[in-house]
Amino acid sequence: MKPAISTMQTAALVQSAITPTMVLAVPSIMISIAKQDAWISGVIALVAGMAMALGTAFICKANKGQLFVSWMESSFGKPVGIAIGLLLGIYYFNSFCIIVRSFTNFVSDIVLDQTPLYMLAGIMVAVTAFTVMQGIEALARSAFVVLILILVVVPLSVFVLYTDIDFKRLLPLFDESAARMMIASLPPVALLSEVSVLLLLTPYMKKPAAGLQAGLVGTVLGALQLLLVLLLGLTIFGQQLVPMMSYTFVNIMAIVEVGEFLERIEVFTVSVWFLTMYIKMSVFLFASVHCLVHSLRLRSERHMVFGLSVLAIVTSLTEWPRNMGGGFIFAVVNIPLLFIGNIVLPLLIALGLLITRGKRNKGGSQSS
């Protein structure tokens, strides 16, 4: 029986696929480019993200309930379908390796600086592999629980930071040129394009027609969290200081001091964020396994999960010899890869679907 996930669970999965990396290193990069107008870049990214969610949902509408690779095969023929499946599988595997390494760097920088990276990456990938083996339904339920946790933690965090916030630090508005604001919006737009994972998730939805709703909710939730971190960073620290912070949201939570009894609460925030990070890794490993298993006509998903996990540990540790500048590399240098996997490829699929629409309709009417 094909598993079925609800619309909100799908939205939670999309949100988890976007947010963890986006709030990690992107805010300081955006603020270093667009200064106090970085939040406007965040709004631009939100609008672009919604447009991408809309586009992805429209492509998904053409799918009549088939799994992604089967859908591609039935639309474009076997060789092309398999090629698209393999391409996406490799893309998601590559992204998974990058995510594993960026999260490993983060844990190593913030908490476990003396623990060897192979141990951190190994444990992370092992937990992710275990989650993926439980299937998409279990993953979706976990993502939804994590989303609820975020919805509790975020307002609490803003509340305890309330006295440090000074909105005047956002002024003057539009001090930076429109070009700089657009450039600053590129990293978040690239990460918001992860909404394309909907292409793989829609067939598992109870109501595939609600794919648009799930994509929009997930994208908006992700973009709003980025906006919140940007606004908190700017209104608390100002535009000059944030660019020197590798992990802005950790620095923001680190300054909370309520009397002498509530201090160092960044540990709790980071703990909740860790959960989102595991969901993100699981979504990407799932996507990679899904595409490769169906493209290569493999019977066992478990063996593929195991194989890809081992390969991911080795790749993520050996590809980048040092932590230095990790956040920058993953947020900026990774942009072309994100655009190719999440925008160019779906656009080509959309184009292909448009071209072959007539042929399919003809085939459909002939068969009926």
């Binding site: 920088d109 476990l112 600086d113 623990t115 200081l241």
Partner: protein, 410 residues
């Protein structure tokens, strides 16, 4: 058989996981760390000298009256290390301390004047780069060496590092003369539009040191740790001091007054002079930049609410005009303080009052031109101060005691 093998393998995997996922590499054992309550930074001309006030948990109970076999022992120990960089100096601590320094509970960082004049950028870098140290640590400046400050004991507080933090918080809350400046705020001010910052002073008041517990055998101690003036920083280097009066004026201009007090002169009907003390309960300052004919000027609008705490003038506070004249005098006092602080800032060519940020926000186009020579622009910009002083309460008596005495004599 197959199920048994599977179960056995699962147990082995679980045991292995339990073994390797305990965070062994980053474990922190309490008996292996030296908890620092205060850190001192000095510069000897060639090297950084970092001093540590380390807490001795076992000795705290003997000082605070707990059971102790051989009488009170010092709850803190102070030692210093030297290095080319701050972290280099800290690394040298491993050569002389049996425990690893643990900075997560550090409350204050005291910087000697020489180090302040050299620059604090290295210190800020250390705080933002390392996750162990906290950016909420309060920064204090001292005219001598920071080590001497760290060595002093304090009344009522066994760990003087924590005591120093409490003093500055109390001062900020009750008098607002000196601000509490955490490391992140210092970094924000230095990188701000005006590129200037302030740091409160702490010094040893008294001739002898209170660095021995023997000092506590009498009812008074030879010296105390006391807050004093305000150190002024341009970029990351200290360039001078501000008096306490100027510092309070600066606090009004920086809109950082929480509660404070003002002593205003008063005069009764017969011309006899005295003083009223007014506690400031609330204060709100708006600094508005104005550009007229190419000349930049600033207007400070201060809204102050106070309560009468003490009066030694023969006044009937119900009489029309008495409260108004008191309010008027309060306004004059606060305006004088603000003008004095502004003047001092202009003398030192340092904008401590957030005028640069306000100008940048109001005149973003002109700011691009002014930002390169802001110190000169600021030094030529006059301040027009306006205070609206409102006496909200008169305390529990509506006439001064002196008024009753004078009435009786008549």
């Amino acid at each position: 058989m197959r199920i048994r093998i599977k179960s056995f393998l699962s147990v082995v995997v679980l045991l292995f996981a339990a073994l390797v996922t305990t965070g062994c590499w980053n474990r922190i054992e309490l008996n292996e760390i030296a908890i620092t309550s205060a850190t001192g930074i000095d510069w000897d001309g060639e090297n950084w000298i970092v001093s540590y006030q380390v807490v001795i948990p076992a000795a705290i109970s003997s000082v605070t009256g707990g059971s102790g076999g051989t009488g009170p022992k010092s709850p803190i120990i102070v030692y210093s290390t030297k290095g080319k960089t701050i972290r280099d100096a800290i690394m040298h601590s491993f050569s002389e301390s049996p425990r690893k320094l643990f900075f997560a509970h550090n409350r204050v960082v005291v910087i000697g004047e020489k180090a302040m004049r050299k620059g604090v950028n290295e210190l800020i870098d250390v705080y933002f780069r390392n996750s162990g140290s906290r950016e909420t640590v309060s920064v204090l400046a001292t005219p001598g060496t920071s080590r001497r400050v760290l060595e002093q004991f304090m009344q009522l507080q066994a760990i003087s590092g924590a005591g120093m933090k409490e003093i500055i918080l109390s001062e900020m809350k009750n008098t607002s003369i000196l601000p509490n400046v955490p490391v992140y705020q210092l970094a924000m001010e230095i990188t701000g539009d005006a590129k200037s910052a302030v740091v409160p002073e702490i010094f040893v008041s008294g001739s002898e040191d209170t660095s021995s517990l023997d000092s506590f055998s009498s009812t008074s101690i030879p010296s105390k740790l006391k807050l004093g003036r305000l150190a002024i920083l341009k970029n990351d280097q200290m360039i001078g001091w501000m008096s306490r009066k100027e510092s309070l004026g600066a606090a009004y201009l920086r809109d950082s007054v929480q509660q404070s007090f003002v002593v205003v002169p008063c005069e009764d009907q017969e011309g006899k002079k005295g003083f009223d003390t007014v506690q400031i309960l609330k204060s709100k300052t708006k600094i508005i930049p104005k550009l007229q004919g190419g000349q930049l000027s600033f207007k400070a609008d201060v809204d102050v609410t106070g309560t009468l705490m003490e009066s030694n003038c023969a006044q009937d506070l119900f009489k029309p005009g008495v409260i108004q004249s008191l309010e008027k005098e309060g306004e004059v006092q606060i305006i004088a303080m603000m003008q004095e602080a502004w003047k001092k800032g202009q003398e030192l060519q340092v904008d401590l009052f957030g005028a640069a940020e306000k100008t940048h926000r109001k005149y973003p186009k002109q700011w691009k031109e002014w930002s390169n020579s802001w110190d000169e622009v600021f030094a030529k910009s006059p301040l027009e101060a306006k205070v609206k002083f409102r006496m909200a309460r008169m305390g529990l008596s509506n006439k001064s005691f002196q008024y009753l005495l004078d009435k009786k004599e008549k």
